[in-house]
């Protein structure tokens, strides 16, 4: 019991993932700055931002729904903490076998941060926040379809294994799924879905800074905004690690370079693309991405 609490709160759950995530957030800001020919912030900048936000005043809108306003950041944070604990433990702790069907549980838990953002935005009684919430909802509907279809590819290729540790072991024997044709197609589609799940630039219509003033987060300040930022940085660690687990033989502390490669791909996509409108994003995910995902599933069934 105490071991589980330690795993959940300190290592590899909350505290460890937050530190790794804030460092990844710094890499993101630094690389973005270098691409734009700037110097960029020092390495401790994301930590200082979180400390500063946590000592600021929390403002609550008078017309808003107060309980939901305070509760929704915690919903997202607890969900993503649970996912990060599961994904880290399955990979680095050989004693932990997870449980049967944890892939499905993780897919459900990964939608909770987006739902928490929608709830919080709807509770804050702001027209721009509700606009952001409606865009977030459309974005979730758009990217979940190819995401779930692609998730079936490693399950089909491993002949119906629904446990993450079994999928890793299967890849350790038979080679990583990303080396096969169907695997690499599904992997690419998953990277685009991950970009939308993280809310990064081509698909950040729900929190467009210049257009609807941070959209869903517009009424949040102080500690609550810090919790949303922490949730986002933890997702930035957890989602790439989940993808590596599914398609790229898992990871340990020696093979964290896989994570750095995926992080750099995310940052490059983010810095070389303009923001797309929400209808363009839905068309992109339900059109090309879903077709590619179905193609990957058909190839996987045929054994490629």
């Amino acid at each position: 019991m105490l071991k589980y609490l330690f795993n959940f709160i300190v290592f590899p759950g909350f505290l460890f993932t937050v530190i790794v995530g804030l460092l990844a957030c710094w890499i993101d800001r630094k690389v973005t700055a270098r691409i734009q020919w700037r110097a960029g912030p020092p390495w401790y900048q994301p930590f200082i931002d979180i400390v500063k936000l946590s000592i600021k005043e929390i403002t609550v809108p008078r017309a808003g729904s107060k309980g939901l306003f305070f509760l929704s950041p915690l919903i997202g944070l607890s969900a993503v903490t649970l996912v990060s604990t599961l994904v880290w433990l399955v990979n680095i702790d050989p004693a932990s076998k997870g449980f049967s069907g944890d892939v499905i549980v993780i897919v459900y838990l990964l939608t909770l941060p987006a739902i928490a953002v929608m709830l919080g935005a709807s509770a804050s009684a702001n027209p721009l926040a509700s606009l952001g919430a409606s865009r977030e909802m459309k974005m979730v509907l758009a990217y979940e379809l190819p995401f779930v279809i692609c998730l079936t590819v490693p399950i089909i290729k491993s002949h119906g294994l629904l446990r993450l540790s079994d999928i890793i072991n299967y890849q350790a024997v038979n080679g990583s799924f990303a080396a096969s044709l169907s695997g690499i197609i599904a992997f690419i589609v998953m990277i685009f879905c991950m970009q939308a799940k993280l809310g990064l630039v081509p698909f950040d219509a729900s929190e467009a800074e210049t257009e609807i003033m941070a959209g869903t987060y517009i009424e949040y300040s102080g500690m609550l905004l810090a919790i949303f930022k922490i949730t986002k940085t933890m997702l930035m660690v957890t989602l790439p690690l989940f993808l590596i687990t599914l398609f790229w033989q898992g990871f340990n502390f020696l093979s964290l370079w896989k994570y750095v490669i995926i992080l750099v791909v995310i940052i490059l996509i983010r810095n070389t693309n303009p923001r797309v409108r929400i209808d363009q994003a839905v068309r992109f995910f339900w059109g090309k991405m879903t077709l590619m995902a179905i193609l990957a599933v058909l190839l996987a069934v045929k054994g490629f």
């Binding site: 700055a33 700037r38 110097a39 960029g40 200082i48 500063k52 600021k56 005043e57 403002t59 905004l225």
Partner: protein, 146 residues
């Protein structure tokens, strides 16, 4: 230096409020995040929502229409929050000193922490002003008013 003060001065998120300016100061402000000056080195970023702000930049001559709005904006800001008056108009009403539409200087409505004069002020002048503001918050500069 304690952690609270360091966190507040090393990560200033700036909300930009134009109270009827000619847009000259606003364009000069937008020079600051560009590669030549790059104030993100010091943790300063522009934010869109007042709820995220640590500093309010006020530009322009404060006219009768914008007085209630700027008061509402200041009340919505989470404290601690500083107010920076940028440009000749918001520092001392500029050429609108005798105008009938702009009878109130900014510091009669809001507690202004630092004035950055100029028409428009150069980006270097704004950075010097921010440095003085940080020194004042640390208590190294004593002002005559406080």
């Amino acid at each position: 230096m304690n952690l609270k003060l360091k966190a507040l001065t090393k990560s200033i998120w700036v909300y930009h409020m134009s109270t009827g300016s000619c847009n000259n100061c606003d364009i000069e402000i937008l020079d600051l995040p560009t590669p030549r000056f790059d104030i993100e080195r010091f943790g300063i970023t522009l934010v869109g929502s007042i709820r995220h702000a640590d500093a309010i930049l006020v530009t322009g001559s404060l006219n009768l229409k914008t007085i209630p709005r700027i008061k509402a904006i200041y009340e919505q800001a989470p404290k601690p929050c500083v107010v920076i008056a940028i440009g000749a108009c918001s520092c001392g009403q500029g050429i609108f000193r005798n105008g009938p539409n702009c009878p109130n200087p900014v510091d009669s409505v809001l507690p202004v922490d630092i004035y950055i004069p100029g028409c428009p002020p150069k980006p270097e002048a704004m950075i010097a002003g921010i440095v003085k503001l940080i020194e004042k918050l640390k208590g190294n500069i004593t002002t005559s008013t406080s």
